[in-house]
């Protein structure tokens, strides 16, 4: 990748052999990374959780978190090496950082004025940058505390903070995670505009390929601390050379619904347990013996012995016609409150037997409250929930074991929904013991295998499992109760894209094979197409649009649905292949 033209240029960012190791294990979290970013260029640093991308991002500011330290290599910005005593003066001036979560990165005890003012620049400059990121530059605004701003405004303040010192390099660490798609779109536009205005080199860290495709000029894909593929964004997206990149692209949900999503089996190794040879070898479909013994070098932007063998394959998605079926679950005129605040208003919904209805909405739309009300977890609601012709009491405590058994719930965050003190076997058995009366033999093994988990996991504890495995255990726990309706509340939002794809495949398969009825709560419109037959769009506690997925997504009628469609980054591979 070191073309002659590149090595001569001293402007921009030059990273050579950068290695960051854990303390005291000494295991490299970031392993001999080379990067070049020119002024005005945006580099997308893509990787799954645990790939070392945030550690690398912080190392670009010569910052090492507790438990990590620099173990070799160098970072130079415009020819000045970022090492030694000069680092602190370089920060803010030469290189700036935009954090993942501005809500926790802005100091809760200090006013916006104070936090912006200490980034250098006088009052006039502060107001100028505020205008550039489309925030008010008034005294009233400057007097505010972070908690008085919305999530989007907080992120804009963080962006303004970074650009105040006119840096040459800016590191953005997943700055749009947790934001609604509309806010995300505006933030991305702001980032692009600001980088162009200041002709600033940018490193954009993300796990979201769709965002990368929208925003970046070049891509570096990280896996287990190493850059496995790098090149111009178009080239990498059009014809990925590394099997990991190809599989990562195939895992991205397709908003236009022309292609199926495919997950990557297994999970990324931790730096301490990284296998000898290529770290991706255990998950790679193209693996040969050599991959297990020898670490491939980065040649022509790819770190793979079988570079170019695997291509991005479009698995054509076949639109299955929606057949009509009687309703397994019906909601009639449901309203719900938190205290005196009404969060749901007159919701009516019908879930046909053996089909999947997606509840689509942004944070605060009331979608989780609706799911909880159906499961009997939010008793403060009016209206009716009807299961198989039988009206259910609002509170789960008043429902009979049979009624409770028939609706099972999978929660959003598998890191919180599994009791860490119980083994997988105990976790899976817990609801079944109460709801089934007599537990049939082999129930745990059966439930685990349905969730595509090895029965050997039964004796493990949750903290010995990866995020994807945990969510599968949560699904197995629900399946063990032999439900008719499965409520999935944002079950993939805490997981990586490749894991998300595998979980979605699993859930869709359960519906097809077992005739399970699904209520799939999500904020991701691209996922809806993949998993559901029907969709109900929620806004401010009301259903604003509903219908078969193909029809609603092809021609959305409500302005809110239209905005969601327009603002979601499109990951359309055909766009790169011309």
């Amino acid at each position: 990748m070191t073309t002659p033209e590149r090595t001569e240029v001293l402007t921009g960012v030059r990273v050579r052999g950068l290695t960051v190791a854990g303390v005291p294990s000494g295991a490299p979290i970031v392993d001999s990374v080379d990067l070049d970013v020119r002024p005005g260029e945006i580099l997308g640093l893509v990787g799954e959780s645990g790939s070392g991308k945030t550690t690398l991002g912080l190392a670009l500011l010569a910052y090492y978190k507790r438990g990590t330290q620099l173990a070799g290599g160098s970072v130079a910005i415009n020819g000045v090496d970022l090492a030694g005593a000069a680092v602190r003066r370089m920060r803010g001036d030469a290189v700036a950082y935009i954090p993942q979560s501005p809500a926790s990165a802005l100091n809760p005890a200090l006013r916006i004025r104070t936090q912006l003012g200490e980034c250098g620049g006088d009052d006039a400059r502060v107001r100028e940058v505020l205008r550039e990121v489309a925030l008010p530059d008034t005294d009233v605004f400057l007097r505010r505390y972070p908690h008085q701003l919305s999530g989007g405004q907080q992120q804009r303040v963080a962006i303004a903070m970074a650009f105040l010192g006119r840096p040459d390099l800016i590191v953005l660490d997943e700055p749009t995670t947790g934001l609604d798609v509309t806010t995300q779109k505006h933030v991305l536009e702001t980032v692009r505009k600001m980088c162009a205005t200041y002709s600033c080199a940018a490193v954009y860290i993300t796990h979201d390929m769709a965002v990368v495709a929208e925003l970046t000029d070049r891509i570096a894909v990280m896996y287990s601390g190493r850059v496995v593929e790098t090149g111009p964004a178009r080239t990498v997206l059009r014809s990925p050379q590394h099997p990991y990149t190809a599989r990562l692209l195939m895992a991205v949900p397709d908003l236009d619904g022309r292609r199926e999503i495919r997950g990557i089996p297994g999970h990324a190794p931790s730096p301490v347990r990284r296998p000898a040879g290529c770290a991706f070898a255990p998950r790679c479909p193209l693996v040969v013996d050599r991959c297990r013994d020898e670490v491939p070098a980065l040649e022509d932007g790819v770190r793979c012995f079988r570079a170019g063998v695997s291509r991005f394959e479009v698995v054509e998605r076949v639109e299955v016609p929606v057949v009509s079926a009687d309703a397994a679950l019906e909601v009639r005129g449901l309203s719900a409150w938190y205290g005196s605040h009404q969060v749901l208003e007159d919701i009516s919904l019908s879930v046909p037997r053996g089909q999947c209805v997606a509840l689509l909405g942004e944070s605060g739309s009331g979608k989780t409250t609706l799911a909880r009300a159906i499961a009997g977890l939010h008793p403060r609601h009016g209206g009716e929930v009807v299961l198989g012709g039988e009206s259910l009491p609002p509170s789960g405590l008043r429902r009979t074991p049979l009624q409770r058994r028939r609706i099972q719930y999978v929660f959003q965050n598998p890191y919180e929904s599994l009791n860490p003190r119980k083994t997988v076997r105990e976790l899976v058995l817990a609801p079944a013991r109460v709801l089934l009366g007599k537990v049939p033999d082999g129930l745990v093994e059966d439930a685990l295998s349905q969730a595509a988990l090895s029965p050997e996991l039964a004796s493990r504890y949750p903290d010995q499992l990866s995020g994807g495995e945990r969510q599968r255990v949560a699904i197995a726990r629900a399946l063990a109760a032999q439900p008719e309706v499965l409520v999935c509340d944002e079950v993939t939002s805490a997981l990586d894209v490749s894991v998300q794809a595998a979980i979605v495949e699993l859930i869709a398969g359960l519906r097809e094979r077992k005739g399970l009825t699904l209520l799939f709560v999500t904020h991701d419109i691209a996922l809806v197409r993949t998993v559901a037959q029907h969709v109900a769009v929620l806004e401010h506690g009301r259903i604003v649009e509903r219908g078969p997925v193909a029809e609603v997504l092809a021609a959305p009628e409500h302005p809110y649905t239209q905005a969601l469609m327009a603002d979601t980054p499109r990951f359309d591979t055909s766009r790169f292949s011309q």
Partner: protein, 313 residues
């Protein structure tokens, strides 16, 4: 904010009233006869009856309580049964002495402990941090009379005869009399604050906003003083308050140890002599101090939290 403060104040008054009931009932339930205790064993039944009548000891409890409460509200908690002085006159100078002692201990221990805690957090896992941890743990584990006696041995009766071992004056305290009792209290109160400050600061220093402040290139001093410490003060204020409130009761032992002429020493005396009006007044006073200090801590936490400050005006 003001509404919240008023609400806390009303609650404080309510608690104080509840305490007054408990104190009154507890002293009334003490075994033995007050009149007998005052007049001694040789008292004739007639004299006992006369004294009971004078002290209203035969009235129903409820009316005794209300006449006592009325007295308290008009700052007239009755007369000492032992020396006949009005309680207010007897207790007044002792309150001043005790307040001087407590304030000295508070003013010295709080900033010192917060500084030590911060310093320890900044030096986390280094020698200085470990030494602080061990020393504070040992001090926290020792009862204050052990600390006091050790100090006496070291500074008063041992090779260094710098300070008086006990108070020998007649009610006026000087700086020299104050040093050892105050130091004992500082060593009793400080360690908890140090440990809490260290724990809170470590949490704050690990936070993303402190990381962000460092990534902005701010000098470490600014990071610490502007970004970290203000966010640690709120939670620590609660512990400081608990410790300072403990002082109100903790002075009893320390004053007794040093024969320091304050409310603690007076309370021990009054209990020995069954001087009920003094016991009641002092118990209530200590409770009031406790409540006021906690109230102040609540206010400090409120002021330190912009979320509360801006939401409730």
């Amino acid at each position: 904010m003001v509404r919240l403060a008023v609400k806390r104040l009303v609650f404080g008054a309510l608690i104080l009233w509840a305490v007054s009931v408990v104190v009154f009932l507890a002293t009334a339930a003490l075994p033995g006869d007050t009149a007998q205790a005052i007049l001694g064993r040789e008292a004739t039944p007639e004299r006992l009856a006369a004294l009971r009548l004078e002290l209203h000891l035969d009235d129903p409890l409820v009316s005794q309580y209300f006449s006592w409460l009325g007295g308290l509200l008009t700052f007239d908690p009755g007369r000492s049964l032992v020396n006949g002085l009005p309680v207010a006159e007897f207790v007044g100078p002792r309150i001043v002495n005790s307040l001087v002692l407590m304030l000295t201990a508070a003013v010295v221990s709080t900033p010192l402990a917060m500084f030590l805690g911060t310093w320890s957090a900044v030096r986390r896992d280094r020698a200085a941090d470990h030494v602080t941890a061990v020393v504070t743990l040992v001090l926290a584990a020792l009862p204050e009379f052990v600390v006091g006696i050790t100090l006496v041995i070291v500074f008063a009766t041992g090779p260094l005869r710098l300070l008086p071992a006990v108070y020998v004056g007649t009610g006026q305290v000087t700086f020299v009399d104050l040093v050892l009792p105050a130091l004992t209290l500082v060593l009793a109160v400080g360690p908890y604050i140090v440990r809490m400050m260290r724990a809170t600061m470590i949490e704050v220093l690990e936070s993303e906003y402190v990381q962000q402040a460092r990534l902005k290139g701010l000098p470490e001093r600014t990071v610490l003083l502007r970004h970290a410490v203000p966010n640690a003060v709120g939670p620590v204020a609660q512990v400081v308050a608990l410790q300072l409130a403990w002082l109100a009761g903790g002075v009893v032992v320390v004053e007794f140890l040093f024969r320091y002429p304050g409310i603690g020493y007076a309370l021990v005396d009054a209990v020995n002599n069954r001087d009920l009006p003094v016991v009641q007044a002092l118990a209530l006073l200590i409770a009031a101090l406790y409540i006021v200090v906690n109230l102040l801590a609540d206010l400090v936490s409120l002021v330190a939290n912009p979320r509360v400050r801006t939401a409730i005006r």
